[in-house]
């Protein structure tokens, strides 16, 4: 029942309720003020922050430039890589899905394990690579079955491929995925999915040009960084195409000729220094390096006694042997201490103090002048020649011919070899220079070391009459031909050059040491010089034994340098066959076959291929 006491407390209740309601209204006003502050006064600031959250700039990997030979044969191409990706968060049962995929395309059990591991370690929305390098058939099978393969995404990526594989491994090198080191140097690489960097050869040397400029896409991302959609994009610039001076046909023949051997061949245009063929045999398949190299393959390549991973053409260092004699002859002539007509008698050996220096020909050559000494490669003549000329004059001539130096070839890794002189010996061996050292250098032995590339440059500079051409493999970038500075003149007397040329002509064309390798094409005769480099000091019991009876690793290196045609030479070649026995037997015939092909094709006189302009969209933005 309502009574007075109730009325009192009802009135109190009403007052307090009113007070509370007033307070509530005040708090609501405060909250509304805060809303106003956030959404009106600070709107600009927060709108910008929201946009920053939402929009990411994503770099788009540009297509890598192609590499062509001088006639337009594609040597390194960027081809479609048919891949299968798995987006873990979209798959219902990852293992079951992968097993279903394995029914459609070849997918090994270890590969499935690997994918499962990647899934565990990665984020659920980041695609994981299941398989790549699929052929069209397998790729189509996946495509047809995508409706029942939740989470599986067929994808076309970019794959660098080398159609000629091992034939060009040392020239082109290869590309591979970015490493932590690359990222440390160029952090932006991290945002280029699937980007590959040139690792060796032309791929590395011309990496900047081949790469192109990355494009960029504005993409909307969610809080986990997953791309929701693309808002806008700016196309990148595709990488520049690179044209090499190589003639792939010559390169192929060279490779065939060196099959099963360990050695190098280089063919060069003596006027420009453009390399027409450069082979280090055996090669390796660079295609295996663009994805992950298996440790088995790595071990196999490393353990191979023929050292396929070494680019012997520029890193192999050999005593030049008798191929060096033309340089000694020119040094002698230039020094004026040896007349071309002066005769030296070769009895098969000469003595210096208590030491006997042998000629390669046991019975000796008899009386030799310079022409005959080059033709017959008489060691005794060149001992004498070197003795009279002295090491300093010989070393000076070596440097003119580009020995003991590198040329900045667009294939990284050149070695400079060694041109010894008294200062070097004092420094390196703590010993004085003796006449015997000069004797040894006179026949291209001793401490003298050259690379096959240097031998070819030497041959080219002999051939062109003393023009210091610089070797190079890249002829054009993005269709623009490189302008090479005219080679310096080495200051040789043309008369001296003519004497050496005639001697080298006689080697192959007048019954000299390379007579069996004569090229019978009129107007394209080849002049050359054989050489045999001792691998170790021959002991008496090995001397005179036939090469075949000596274990492979103790056999001499076979060398040959040559140029053609004899008149107005255009091409120079150097051939080194490791443990090949004698230069005339093993190296010169290879040069003959190659130069015969060169004569037919005459690549230096053909117009240089101009790659077509390419306008291709960059690949789509990817999460």
């Amino acid at each position: 029942m309502m009574d007075g006491r109730d009325s009192v407390r009802y009135r109190a209740f009403t007052r307090r309720t009113a007070l509370l309601s007033g307070g509530t209204l005040g708090l609501f006003a405060l909250l509304s003020g805060r809303m106003f502050q956030l959404s009106v006064l600070q709107r600009e600031q927060f709108a910008t922050l929201a946009e920053d959250n939402r929009v990411n700039l994503q770099l788009l990997a540009p297509r890598r430039g192609r590499v062509y030979d001088r006639f337009g044969v594609e040597l390194a191409k960027t081809s479609q890589n048919f891949r299968v990706l798995l987006i873990p968060e979209q798959a219902k049962n990852i293992r079951a899905t992968l097993e279903r995929v394995a029914e459609l395309i070849p997918l090994s059990a270890p590969r499935i394990q690997r994918v499962l591991r990647d899934v565990r370690e990665g984020k659920a929305f980041n695609p994981v690579l299941v398989a790549e390098g699929l052929d069209w058939n397998d790729f189509a099978k996946i495509n047809i079955n995508t409706p029942e393969l939740a989470g599986i995404e067929p994808d076309m990526g970019e794959l660098r491929s080398y159609p000629f594989g091992p034939w060009l491994s040392h020239v082109l090198g290869y590309v591979s995925g970015i490493t932590d080191k690359d990222v440390a140097r160029e952090p932006e690489l991290l945002s280029l999915p699937g980007f590959r960097v040139g690792r060796s050869g032309v791929e590395r040397a011309a990496d900047d040009a081949l790469r192109g400029k990355p494009g960029a896409a504005q993409v909307e991302v969610n809080a986990h960084g997953r791309v929701i959609r693309e808002l806008s994009r700016r196309e990148g610039t595709v990488g520049q195409d690179v044209v090499l001076g190589l003639d792939m046909e010559v390169q192929k023949l060279t490779q065939e000729k060196l099959a099963g051997q360990s050695g190098s061949v280089i063919v060069m245009d003596v006027k420009t220094g453009a390399i027409i063929s450069i082979v280090s045999a055996p090669g390796y398949d660079p295609n295996a390096f663009t994805t992950t190299v298996t440790s088995a393959l790595w071990k196999q390549l490393n353990d191979d006694p023929l050292k396929p991973l070494l680019n012997k053409a520029i890193t192999g260092m050999y005593p030049p042997g008798s191929t060096f004699k033309p340089v000694v002859a020119l040094a002698a002539l230039a020094s004026g201490r040896m007349s071309p007509t002066a005769r030296v008698h070769c009895s098969g050996a000469t003595s210096l103090g208590s030491h006997v220096f042998h000629c390669w020909r046991k019975g000796g050559h008899g009386s030799m002048d310079m022409h005959l000494a080059i033709k017959n490669s008489c060691d005794v003549y060149f001992y004498e020649c070197a003795r009279r000329t002295g090491i300093d004059e010989i070393a000076k001539m070596c440097h003119k011919f580009g020995l003991g130096q590198t040329y900045g070839l667009e294939i990284p890794g050149e070695k400079s070899g060694l041109v010894p002189n008294p200062e070097w010996k004092q420094r390196a061996r703590k010993d004085i220079w003796r006449d015997g050292d000069t004797y040894n250098v006179g026949i291209g032995q001793g401490a003298l070391l050259t690379t096959p590339l240097q031998l070819c440059v030497m041959a080219a500079r002999l051939a062109n009459g003393g023009k210091a051409v610089i070797p190079h493999v890249i002829r054009s970038f993005g269709g623009v031909e490189r302008v090479m500075p005219p080679p310096e003149d080495m200051g040789l007397d043309p008369a001296h050059v003519a004497i050496v040329h005639s001697g080298m002509d006689a080697v192959t064309n007048q019954g000299g040491t390379g007579a069996r390798s004569r090229i019978g094409i009129e107007g394209f005769e080849m002049a050359g010089k054989t050489g045999t480099a001792q691998v170790r000091r021959l002991t008496a019991d090995l001397r005179g034994r036939s090469a075949d009876s000596i274990p492979w690793q103790f056999r001499d290196h076979a060398l040959f340098i040559a140029f053609a045609p004899v008149v107005e030479p255009r091409y120079a070649i150097s051939v080194v066959v490791e443990h090949g026995g004698g230069g005339s037997k093993t190296a010169a015939p290879i040069a003959k076959d190659i130069m015969t092909l060169v004569a037919q094709r005459d690549p230096a006189r053909q117009p240089l291929f101009v790659p077509p302009a390419r306008i291709e969209p960059a690949p789509e933005a990817k999460a």
Binding site: R5, R9, T17, S21, E51, A223
Partner: protein, 385 residues
């Protein structure tokens, strides 16, 4: 005995049909409107899909509103009679949950009611309002401040609050304590007690900081005071919420266009931070509409309280209103970075069955008070257990 004062019929003669006619349908409509805003937002944050949130929330609402109407139709004297038993059961469940919780059966913290679940701590919010209202119903104004009456009243509040605090559930504790003290205040606690206690409370804040708060709770406060200090860590929620609200501007980015929520920058977007989604998509305009609806609901509640004959009914109505108000204040202030992050949903809007059911049961009680507002309950009835 016929009653002819402005409080209306005493209720003995109310028939089912009359109850339906008398019921405050405006309040029911307002509640439904707010829930509909919730459905729309849940549809939007799911990327324009009823699945997974909107659909289930609609079903829960259907069940919840039926329970609300059923409770509304039950006589207020029944609720008066059941107040202590309900409180007792709730306290028992709360203790049991503590016990079972410690032995590691987390699933038993819930009571299933069809598609809805009820936590004892949620049930306690209603039970406390009922029990405290009944207790205060029997006390004269001048007796409210007497220790013999005040201390039992405070115990009614503090025992469950303490049990919830050690769960630990700071949000529910706050609502229990603030709601309970609010009811004692409304019952007429003397200012002579209120003012010194408030002063003492302010002075005790540093002590409480030092001894009462757990490290993660302190961390929340630090983060609140300076959210930019660690924008990707602890300050992330507050910062992203402010960004979403602020970037909405006056009229918002449009329905389904909220980038912050759609792209998952916003944490707990479907539950505790749904207010932010509203702000991002509908701007200040949308926020003010919702706040207006809330105010209208509260106004209806206060009107019911002032129009009710029994002190019990009045206190129950205001207790429900206080709970509802606290939900709103805590959630919106948290979303706007005014107070530290506390796990309190936005009532009737946030996704989640428990909170929705609690609020709807509360409004059921409120409506029961409203329908039976003329019913007289003698002061002495409070003394009978």
């Amino acid at each position: 005995m016929p009653m002819n004062d402005h409080f209306g019929p005493t209720g003995r003669e109310l028939r089912f049909k009359d109850k339906l006619r008398v019921m405050n349908w405006t309040l029911v409509a307002l509640i439904t409107s707010v829930c509909c805003i919730g459905f729309a937002l849940l549809y939007s944050v799911a990327g324009g899909s009823f699945d997974p949130w909107a659909e289930r929330q609609i079903v829960r609402f259907g069940v919840g509103i039926s329970i609300m109407l059923a409770i509304a139709l039950i006589d207020i004297r029944t609720w008066f009679a059941l107040a202590y038993p309900i409180y007792g059961v709730s306290l028992l469940l709360l203790t049991a949950v503590e016990f079972v919780g410690r032995t590691g059966k987390g699933a038993e913290r819930w009571i299933d009611i069809g598609p809805l679940q009820l936590q004892p701590s949620e049930l306690m919010k209603i039970a406390l309002v009922l029990a405290l209202s009944r207790f205060l119903h029997g006390i004269l104004l001048e007796d409210v401040s007497r220790p013999t009456r005040l201390i039992p009243a405070l115990l009614l509040v503090m025992i469950p609050a303490g049990l919830v605090l050690i769960q630990p559930n700071l949000g529910t504790t706050t609502i229990l304590v603030a709601g309970g003290l609010g009811l004692i205040f409304l019952a007429g606690l003397s200012w002579k007690i209120i003012l010194p206690v408030v002063a003492l409370g302010v002075a005790a804040v540093p002590l409480g900081w030092e001894f009462a708060l757990k490290d993660y709770q302190k961390q929340r406060v630090y983060t609140f005071l300076e959210p930019d200090r660690d924008p990707l860590g602890a300050g992330y929620n507050i910062l992203q919420s402010k960004i979403a609200l602020g970037s909405g501007g006056l009229f918002g980015k449009g329905f389904g266009e909220g980038t912050q929520s759609r792209l998952n920058f916003l944490p707990e977007k479907q539950t505790d931070f749904i207010f932010t989604v509203l702000g991002e998509e509908f701007g200040l305009f949308g926020l003010l509409i919702l706040m207006g609806l809330y105010l209208a609901i509260l106004a209806q509640g206060v009107t019911v309280a002032l129009d009710t004959r029994s002190q019990f009914g009045r206190l129950v109505a205001m207790g429900i209103c206080l709970n509802f108000l606290l939900y709103i204040l805590i959630n919106t202030a948290m979303s706007m970075g005014l107070i530290p992050v506390v796990g309190i949903p936005l009532p009737l809007v946030s996704y989640g069955g428990t909170a929705l059911l609690t609020v709807l049961i509360g409004f059921g009680m409120l409506l029961s008070v409203q329908i039976h507002r003329g019913v007289d309950i003698p002061r002495s009835a409070a003394n009978l257990i």
